[in-house]
């Protein structure tokens, strides 16, 4: 492979995004000039307070919340998720069951495992089909008067599959349960209008839509009973103690404004590029397929499973070609488990291990997509030549039967 002098192609925007220069510019004065604590009475503090109010309003617009005080700033998506689930359990004595899906982010699943194991909570993990769509019948069957909270992600981080959260929230309310959604991958990419839904709580993260890291928010519908996770000062109306991360909040506000301003055109363009990428890969490379629900998914996420080879090897070769993507493979994650999302979708292990996620942003160009399309065939064929499941002219999945230890 030739060394490339072209600038790197970043297609891992579901992991994190570049902070927009406009966002950085908006944040900078709040580190040095307007460094006051918004809680202080003096002028240093009150100027910051005004900027925080503006940022809160920008985020309110982005998610279509009815009131700006329905937003609680947190340290990120994980804190928001932990806060929401724990609060929902605490405010509903007598209800000790949680319903979630098998394909949630670890920020939900690991918490649920803990609650189940150590805090006497019953957890229902609703399965998905081969396209990653929720089994609604299983969900209905799990709902009961014991359900404290239902938590389904808005959009899946690995496949981009979108759950119909509006309807799922209505079903939860039929049994009197609270409904939370982890919308970390959806906010900034999909139009959201919370005031027209029955969603009680929503988690979001700033760095997934070109804001700074270390900041997120929990939307808490007005009137929803709540117990804070962090107690201390009166910040966020006593619902999340700790001095506001003013520069980050202001950055988030700016990022929210920018996302909302061009969301419709960005979505259409990203979806076009995503389709071009997927079609090109499937046409040029055999034995691969697109994962997720083709009818309802994020405009920016393409996860393609390449059979008979392993994801980390593909990523290393892509990295050498100046292309950054990510993988559902076991070996890139640090744990040795392959992606729980792809396994829940019943994707065979020889394909799940070779799944590569390309996640686009509004900055992704058609030239970048073409570079991926040019680089991939050689990478895949090179690795397949080394694979015991492959032999010269094609797949030989049955010719190799290793003794599994």
């Amino acid at each position: 492979m030739k060394d490339t002098v072209l600038p790197p192609v970043y297609l891992d925007n579901n992991a994190t995004t570049r902070v927009f220069p406009e966002v950085v510019e908006a944040m900078l004065p709040y580190f040095t000039e307007q460094f006051g604590n918004a809680s202080s009475i003096h002028a240093f503090g009150s100027e910051v307070g005004g900027a925080l109010r503006q940022a809160r309003k920008s985020l309110q617009q982005l998610i279509g919340a009815e009131f700006d005080h329905e937003i609680i700033f947190t340290s990120g998506g994980s804190e928001s998720n932990n806060t929401a689930i724990r609060s929902a359990l605490l405010v509903q004595p007598g209800r000790d069951e949680v319903i979630t899906s098998a394909v949630e982010h670890p920020a939900i699943l690991t918490l649920c495992d803990w609650l189940e194991k150590h805090e006497g909570v019953t957890v229902h993990r609703i399965p998905v089909d081969r396209l990653g769509r929720l089994d609604i019948d299983a969900y209905r069957a799990a709902l009961s008067e014991k359900t404290a909270v239902v938590s389904f992600m808005w959009a899946n981080n690995e496949t981009g599959t979108v759950f119909p959260v509006d309807g799922l929230a209505e079903l939860a309310h039929e049994v009197g349960a609270l409904f939370h959604t982890d919308a970390v991958q959806a906010v900034g990419k999909l139009p959201i209008d919370l005031k027209s839904t029955e969603i009680d709580m929503l988690s979001l993260s700033s760095h997934k839509f070109h804001g700074p890291k270390g900041l997120g928010a929990l939307y808490l519908r007005k009137g929803t009973r709540f117990r804070p996770l962090l107690r201390g000062g009166h910040q966020e109306r006593g619902r999340r103690a700790g001095t506001e991360n003013a520069p980050a909040i202001i950055g988030l506000g700016k990022a929210a404004e920018m996302a909302l301003a061009t969301m419709a055109e960005d979505s259409a363009r990203m979806a076009g590029l995503r389709d071009r990428l997927e079609k090109g890969l499937v046409q040029r490379i055999g034995h691969c397929f697109v994962t997720g629900d083709p009818h309802d998914r994020l405009p920016n996420t393409a996860t393609v499973a390449f059979e008979y080879i392993e994801g980390e090897a593909i990523l290393l070769k892509l990295n050498q070609a100046g292309i950054a993507a990510s993988s559902g493979s076991a070996c890139t994650s640090g744990s040795l488990e392959p992606s729980h999302v792809l396994r829940a979708m019943d994707i065979p292990f020889t394909a799940a291990h070779g799944a590569i996620r390309f996640s686009l942003s509004r900055e992704t160009t058609v030239e970048e997509i073409e570079r991926v399309l040019d680089a991939m065939p050689e990478i895949i064929s090179g690795l397949r030549e080394m694979s015991p499941f492959w032999s010269g002219d094609g797949a030989q999945p049955d010719g190799f039967n290793p003794a599994y230890a």
Partner: protein
């Protein structure tokens, strides 16, 4: 991204001996459930001499799995079957200048494929496979859940301390304490159900006594200072040993050990060199950087740097040097120049 050595990268991007070997007369096929990797090793062995004349591999796996497979073929080409049988996974890892702890199983897979191929050639039955499987719990010592579970079941372990004694898991930085506790509690619970231990013996999650505050090691001089306290050594330039009569200055400046600074430095270098294999086994390494008076400067790399392993291992080195030189020294980690 993983912290792969240059050699791992080299053997991944430009693997040697990849592909099928048409006229192979010994083939080993193995897979590892822990990460879904699989390896087919093909050998061409000369039946007259038992020498492996050609070796090729096909691997379904990550970068380090491919590099380990390629390294394996390089190591065994030209050796006899008997020699190849003695090869261990550590030899493969060493050949690649080390593997990240989570990736050591890739080298284990190589060793297993070799054993399978050798067994196929000699017609011997394959040894019972006992290599470790499951999630890696202790990263400092590379101990996984399978090994810990076996140790707990075989020896009826019911305390965290005993688990650490038997497996080393949790014996260093202790960041794996929570998963270790969970594992012990779960397995004990199963053992109670099976009747292997009494319910009151079983470990209950969260019931471990608080770890005793260990006295700081390595960075402080122990309380019991060997008397008489030798004067701290100024950072004297290393002396070339002179004939005793002609060098009164060197004698007065000699450290309490009675050795010249140069001899001391040689001894210290030797001690550290002797200890290096131990470090390498755990995926790290240590090197002597400098010695000034009572200060021994070393550089730690690999699994040792970053892990709190540093505090206790440096303590160990300091103790050994102190014993040898007969005066207290401090061992401090520094960035390699």
């Amino acid at each position: 991204m993983w912290d792969y050595s240059d050699k791992v990268k080299e053997y991944f991007f430009n693997p040697k001996n990849a592909g099928a070997l048409a006229d192979a007369n010994a083939v080993g096929e193995v897979g590892s459930l822990s990460c879904g990797d699989a390896l087919k090793l093909m050998l061409k062995v000369n039946p007259e001499t038992d020498v492996i004349e050609e070796a090729k591999f096909q691997t379904f796996g990550c970068g380090s799995a491919i590099a380990s497979s390629s390294a394996l073929t390089e190591l065994i080409i030209g050796t006899t079957i008997a020699e190849a049988k003695t090869l261990t996974n550590q030899d493969i890892a060493d050949f690649l200048d080390g593997l990240p702890p989570e990736k050591m199983h890739c080298s284990v897979m190589g060793q297993e494929a070799l054993h399978a191929a050798v067994a196929a050639y000699t017609g011997e039955a394959l040894d019972e496979d006992d290599h470790e499987e499951g999630a890696l719990i202790c990263k400092c010592f590379g101990v996984d859940a399978g090994m810990i579970e076996r140790a707990i079941r075989t020896n009826k372990l019911t305390t965290l301390e005993m688990v650490t004694f038997y497996t080393k898991a949790g014996g260093s930085c202790a960041s794996c304490r929570e998963p270790l506790e969970e594992l012990l509690a779960d397995i004990n619970k199963e053992m109670v159900a099976e009747g292997a231990i009494r319910p009151e013996e079983a470990y209950v999650f969260g019931s471990a006594p608080r770890p005793k505050k260990k006295k700081a090691q390595g960075f402080v001089i122990p309380d019991a200072v060997p008397a008489p306290m030798p004067p701290a050594q100024p950072s004297a330039p290393i002396q070339i040993a002179m004939p005793a009569a002609a060098a009164p200055v060197a004698v007065t400046e000699a450290p309490a050990s009675g050795l010249s600074a140069a001899k001391e430095a040689i001894l210290v270098a030797k001690i550290i060199e002797e200890m290096r294999p131990t470090f390498r086994r755990d995926g790290g390494d240590v090197e002597l950087v400098d010695m000034e008076g009572s200060l021994v400067l070393v550089s730690l790399v690999g699994a040792c740097s970053g892990c709190q392993l540093a505090a206790s291992t440096l303590g160990g080195i300091a103790q050994k040097i102190t014993e040898t030189l007969g005066r207290p020294v401090r061992v401090m980690p520094v960035a390699k120049a």
